[in-house]
Amino acid sequence: MEGSLVQEFKKGLWEEIPPFRLVLGLCPVLAVTKAADTGLGMGIAATFVLVFSNVIVSMLRNVIPNKVRIACYIVVIATFVVVTELVMQAYTYPLYEALGIFIPLIVVNCIILGRAEAFAGKNPVLLSAADGLGIGLGFTLSLTFLGSLREIFGAGTLFGQAVMGASFEPFTFMVQAPGAFVCLGILLGLMNIVEAIRTR
């Protein structure tokens, strides 16, 4: 499993980009991508937690007893989630309000626990940091992209700026829950097509 730093970083951006290739953490993906800025905010918050929890878990990997490792990982992750939450509450209050319950719920985000379990628990610190950064950046990119798409069609704006002209009637279906499912499904399908063409 020993790979180079660059390789571990790069795989999060395409090969294992969540949530499209690594179909994990769908709950926040569906819930917070109503707009581009909430998607971006959620992505950055998750990236922060992911990098630091990966580093700490990796440092402690020889100390943590195997039987109680999940509980230990959760403690580490929860610590950083609380840090994120307090920082967001202090400095980016509107975003904190917009994301609401989904910030504390980062604790149970499958991507973060999944990376701790599948990667950081077995690999050295620097590699784990690169892995966390790559996956987190991939997650941020996907969330922002999905959020922009839904915001453009569903509200006619992008990061709050009107982009579709005055006569545009927003396709509100897109910013509602079923729109999230349809949009995510179509993007997943397109990613599979692109992947099939690439590897042909």
């Binding site: 009637e169 927003p170 396709f171 509100t172 279906f173 509602q176 499904g185 179509i186 399908g189």
Partner: protein, 317 residues
């Protein structure tokens, strides 16, 4: 050997000629009088919606099949039927882009993404209708959409009932679609068309009858709750049965071959549950004009599950 359980005759067999194409064209033919009444009431407005709907559904089907590299099956008429049904659910005078988005959503999201006819879990027409109804509720409101057309006034049957104006919806007008409403409001003609379909065995009678039974039961149990509070009038169950798109639902939307179950008991449950749910949404829900649509859509999600209720195969214990 106690009895003959299976009758097996010798070859050659004769194919009855039934197929997707025959069924779609018969359905469209029996809907023509309904569409004609709509055109009579709303003139060019209705004609435009009908044409645009059918045209863009067929275009979406052809485009999508070309893109994903499947044989183009416009000839079986299923896309055209989807378009026609969607048009009958829309009020005349809706903006053109709304019709186009609805048709494309119906065909692409509701049907082709799942692999075309025979594979889609939901009725494509209903998916298209719901997507535009949720997005552009104001434009889809019959009372608003028809305000653009001359010589029409009044309330749609369901809006009138919600407002408590029971006298404003005489059965005679409801039957003939004389009230404001979607293009396919002439429900007596829809019923006749549905009976023709039953006679030609295009649709399953269990589903239709179950659906009407569900609506009727709902009406008897809580139909008068649709009126505003304190009103002591009662709703004629026949008005409930013939208003809105109950008849279209019973004979054209609910028995959709792909999204409804195929075992007798399952078909009864499916139809009945859809009818009851339709009434619940119509009486208590916010989308009261879409009660039938949402009812069928929700219950068809359960149809693979319902299809597990089937007779045990003979010889297998």
């Amino acid at each position: 050997m106690k009895e003959n359980v299976l009758t097996v005759s010798v070859a050659p067999f004769w194919h009855s000629g039934a197929g997707i194409a025959r069924n779609s064209y018969i359905s469209m033919a029996v809907l023509l009088p309904v569409a004609a009444v709509g055109v009579m009431h709303y003139r060019v407005g209705a004609l435009a919606v009908l044409g645009l709907c059918i045209g863009s559904c067929m275009l979406a089907e052809a485009l999508m099949q070309k893109i994903i590299g499947r044989p183009v099956t416009l000839g079986d008429g299923s896309a055209a039927l989807t378009g026609m049904l969607l048009a009958l659910l829309l009020p005349a005078g809706v903006p053109w882009w709304l019709v186009v988005v609805g048709s494309f959503s119906a065909i692409i999201v509701g049907k082709q993404i799942y692999g075309g006819i025979g594979s889609h879990p939901l009725n494509a027409t209903l998916v298209g209708w719901v997507m535009i109804r949720i997005s552009w509720g104001v434009q889809m409101d019959a009372d608003v959409a028809l305000a653009n057309l001359p010589n029409l006034s009044g309330l749609s049957a369901l809006a009138a009932l919600r407002g408590g104006y029971v006298d404003a919806v005489p059965l005679k007008d409801v039957w003939m679609g004389n009230l404001i409403g979607p293009i396919g409001s002439a429900s007596l003609l829809v019923l006749i068309g549905g009976l023709v379909l039953l006679a030609l065995r295009v649709i399953k009678w269990e589903v239709s009858l179950g659906f009407l039974g569900g609506v009727l039961l709902g009406c008897v149990l809580f139909g008068s709750n649709m009126l505003p509070e304190g009103s002591d009038a009662s709703v004629n169950p026949l008005v409930m049965l013939f208003s809105g798109n109950v008849m279209l639902g019973a004979f054209f939307l609910a028995p959709d071959t792909t999204s409804s179950p195929s075992q007798p008991i399952a078909m009864w449950i499916y139809g009945f549950a859809a009818g009851l749910l339709a009434m619940l949404i119509r009486v208590y829900g916010n989308y009261y004009d879409g009660g039938v649509v949402f009812g069928i859509l929700l219950v068809s999600l359960a149809s693979p599950l319902l299809d597990k209720i089937r007779p045990k195969a003979r010889g297998r214990e």
